[in-house]
């Protein structure tokens, strides 16, 4: 009888300890999640508000192995006009996420435009015009084998407000600060609990 009561007591104590440990884990997880969500959201919100949509024109000069401008920055809603020049050999201008692949020939002001929807003959144009609708960073890459470093010939097309960047920086900071909170709480009660376990 006595033994049974002892065992029951032990089991209850074990259960209580388990809940206590789990509660610690749940609380830790919540703290971390809140910190991540909080700072992520903060990053998302600090992104600048966009000015009124504009028309932006660029002449992209391609040469082995890069583009000038190397970085094109526009805002969502802007109308983008692109003209192309190649200074040496045939290059490409494949724009990620935009179904646009341009073939640039040296000494020629027109370019051939390939789009996946339009099979067959490419469109020959002097200028490409489109509206920047998706925010984020999209690389433009050479799509015509042009030499040794061809696979690494690329540029950046950045469409504001590009909120993924501040959001992800917010997440990293949230991880750091959430981690700090956990560390501070751990070095207190958690440490004391370990000592309990040892005794």
């Amino acid at each position: 009888m006595n033994v049974g009561r002892g065992a029951g007591e032990g089991a209850r104590r074990l259960a209580r300890r388990l809940i206590h440990q789990r509660r610690g884990q749940i609380v830790s997880g919540m703290v971390l999640l809140l910190s991540l969500a909080g700072f992520g959201a903060l990053g998302f919100l600090v992104a600048p508000t966009l000015p009124k949509p504009q028309e932006r024109s660029f002449t992209v000069v391609a040469r082995r192995y890069g583009y000038d401008p190397a970085i094109i920055r526009v805002n969502r809603g802007d109308t983008v006009r692109l003209r192309f020049v190649s200074e040496d050999v045939v290059h490409g201008f494949y724009l990620e996420g935009h179904d646009l692949d341009v073939r640039i020939t040296p000494m020629r002001s027109t370019v051939e435009v390939h789009r996946s929807g339009h099979a067959g003959e490419p469109e020959v144009v002097e200028e490409i015009v489109f509206r920047a609708e998706r925010e984020g960073k999209f690389r433009y890459r050479c799509s015509q084998t042009c030499g040794f470093m061809h696979p690494f010939m690329l540029g950046d097309f950045v469409v504001g407000p590009n909120r993924l960047l501040p959001t992800s920086i917010g997440l990293a900071v949230g991880l750091l600060l959430g981690g700090f909170i956990l560390m501070l709480t751990k070095s207190g009660p958690a440490r004391a609990m370990e000592k309990d376990d040892a005794a």
Partner: protein, 502 residues
């Protein structure tokens, strides 16, 4: 006697004070014995032919790559050696094999094949000798195995990974050459075969793998994070073992070719997963465990710490050069074509100074600051430094995965192309030679890179703080000690985020 031993173990279960007196075995927390869990796995791994069967197809493949690189198209993206080695192999290695399967590459690696064959004069069999009776006879007896070749001991001053550190950094300085020119890749892979063979004839066992191979260095470092390990099961069995087959070899297998003492192994760094100790252990006490990510957390020397600095610096430099928009940097690195020696010198010098001095220096300042903030510390400065460098293992590994991901997603279609036309001669073996270059979800890669980098940072913070708690015991001390380093780790992550997303 037996009762007493049992009593001690029973005590060890309840009191940490006694647990420290009990024989220290390898960590077992969160481990799953794969040889028990997976039927047939022990049988497979203990077959004498296992490693040979693994290497052979890979050897044939690499010899084909060498032929394609020598005789095939000089255009990188038309030649199987470039696409398979630097895109497919590299990606699988850094994002699948290393994080999940430790040094599994070393099981199938063809480079030491010829050397080991010359050392053993056997591909599958074992040459076992009784060291007392077998004196005389050809070759050299080490442990209970007979080896051929010179069997010199590797110089003591080089029994570290500094050669690998410098060799890898040197090689990577010229990455623009071997990434784009098949013939340069042939030179490098060919040199690995030749050096591996020559060193195996001169020096005993896997001296090449342990101390020279440039790939081996970072495999060892990042394998610390990996989710599998070869370990002994029961430390008591090893303590009582008189046979020491894992070390000395015997009739069932060779003594550890990596010069490890497998029964006492507590890190993945220098275990090539050759599985000889699984075969030689008379008690079947060696096994393969599944374990949590980042389970080995102790760097043991400055050579390993600098490997971590070099690897992270290279991930950063490559992200700037190969994923960045700046053409002039590509020109500087591309010395063979552009011949801009001043540019190349600036690039190479910055890379070396950053990897060997500036980044370690910055890190040192952060560690020093942490020790100052924490006040008196009990641990030696070197141990604190090495412990706080460890977070660069998960951070660096995940940064490399994040860097390699777009390479394979963008250029993966070349894999199908060169399979049909490995030499770039216009063949079409499988009808895939005409597949156009098709980047796969290039616009979504940032959404994959962000979680990868954050996971690296999270494990960096977790393991670093774990070390801080071990080294600094007073209340509040660990947080203060680790604070500057944790801020630095976050800053590094933000730098990668800026590069990939900004």
């Amino acid at each position: 006697m037996f009762v007493q031993a049992k009593g001690i173990r029973a005590l060890a279960g309840t009191s940490p004070a006694v647990a420290t007196l009990a024989p220290r075995g390898p960590a077992t927390a969160g481990r799953i014995d794969l040889l028990q869990a997976v039927p047939g796995l022990r049988w497979l791994l203990t077959r004498r032919w296992f490693q040979f069967a693994m290497i052979l197809p890979n050897l044939v493949l690499f010899l084909l790559f060498l032929m394609a690189g020598t005789f095939g198209s000089p255009v990188g993206n038309r030649n199987i050696i470039i696409i398979f080695v630097w895109i497919l192999w590299w990606f699988l290695l850094i994002s699948v094999l290393v994080p999940f399967l430790s040094r599994a590459w070393c099981i199938v690696c063809p480079f030491p094949f010829f050397g080991e064959w010359l050392q053993r004069r056997a591909l599958v069999d074992v040459r076992a000798v009784d060291p007392k009776k077998g004196k005389g006879g050809p070759g050299t007896i080490i442990g209970r195995n007979r080896y051929f070749g010179w069997n010199l001991r590797w110089p003591k001053s080089l029994t570290n990974i500094w050669l690998q550190n410098i060799g890898f950094l040197g090689l990577c300085t010229f990455s623009a050459l071997f990434l784009t020119r098949p013939i340069v890749s042939v030179g490098i892979l060919g040199a690995l075969f030749v050096i591996g063979t020559v060193l195996a004839v001169l020096y005993r066992q896997r001296a090449f793998c342990n101390y020279v191979c440039p790939v081996s260095g970072f495999l060892g470092l990042y394998a610390m994070a990996s989710t599998i390990e070869v370990r002994s099961k029961d430390a008591d069995v090893c303590a009582k073992c008189k046979d020491k087959g894992c070390l000395a070899g015997g009739e069932r297998g060779w003594g550890c070719p990596w010069l490890m003492y497998p029964s006492k192994m507590d890190r993945n760094n220098y275990c090539g997963l050759c599985m000889e100790c699984l075969k030689t252990c008379p008690y079947a006490n060696m096994t393969v465990n599944l374990r949590p990510f980042c389970a080995d957390t102790r760097l043991k020397g400055y050579d390993e710490a600098w490997k971590a600095f070099i690897m992270l610096t290279l991930a950063l430099a490559y992200s700037v050069i190969y994923l960045g928009p700046w053409g002039f940097l590509k020109d500087w690195a591309n010395i063979a074509e552009k011949a801009d020696f001043t540019g190349f010198l600036i690039y190479a010098a910055s890379l070396w100074i950053l990897a060997l001095l500036a980044f370690p220096g910055l890190y040192y300042v952060a560690v020093w600051l942490g020790r100052r903030l924490a006040g008196a510390d009990i641990a030696p400065a070197k141990e604190v430094f090495l412990s706080f460098v460890y977070p660069l293992v998960p951070l660096g590994l995940l940064a490399w995965v994040a860097f390699s991901l777009p390479l394979v997603l963008v250029n993966g279609s070349y894999i199908l192309m060169v399979v049909s036309d490995p030499f770039g001669w216009g063949w079409d073996l499988f009808g895939t030679a005409q597949i156009p270059w098709t980047p796969v979800i290039p616009d979504w890669t940032p959404y994959l890179q962000v979680p990868l980098l954050l996971v690296g940072l999270a494990y960096g913070l977790k393991t670093g703080y774990g070390h801080a708690r071990r080294l600094f015991t007073a209340r509040g001390q660990p947080v203060r000690a680790f604070a500057p380093v944790s801020v630095l780790l976050t800053a590094i992550t933000v730098l990668f985020l800026e590069l990939y997303l900004g």
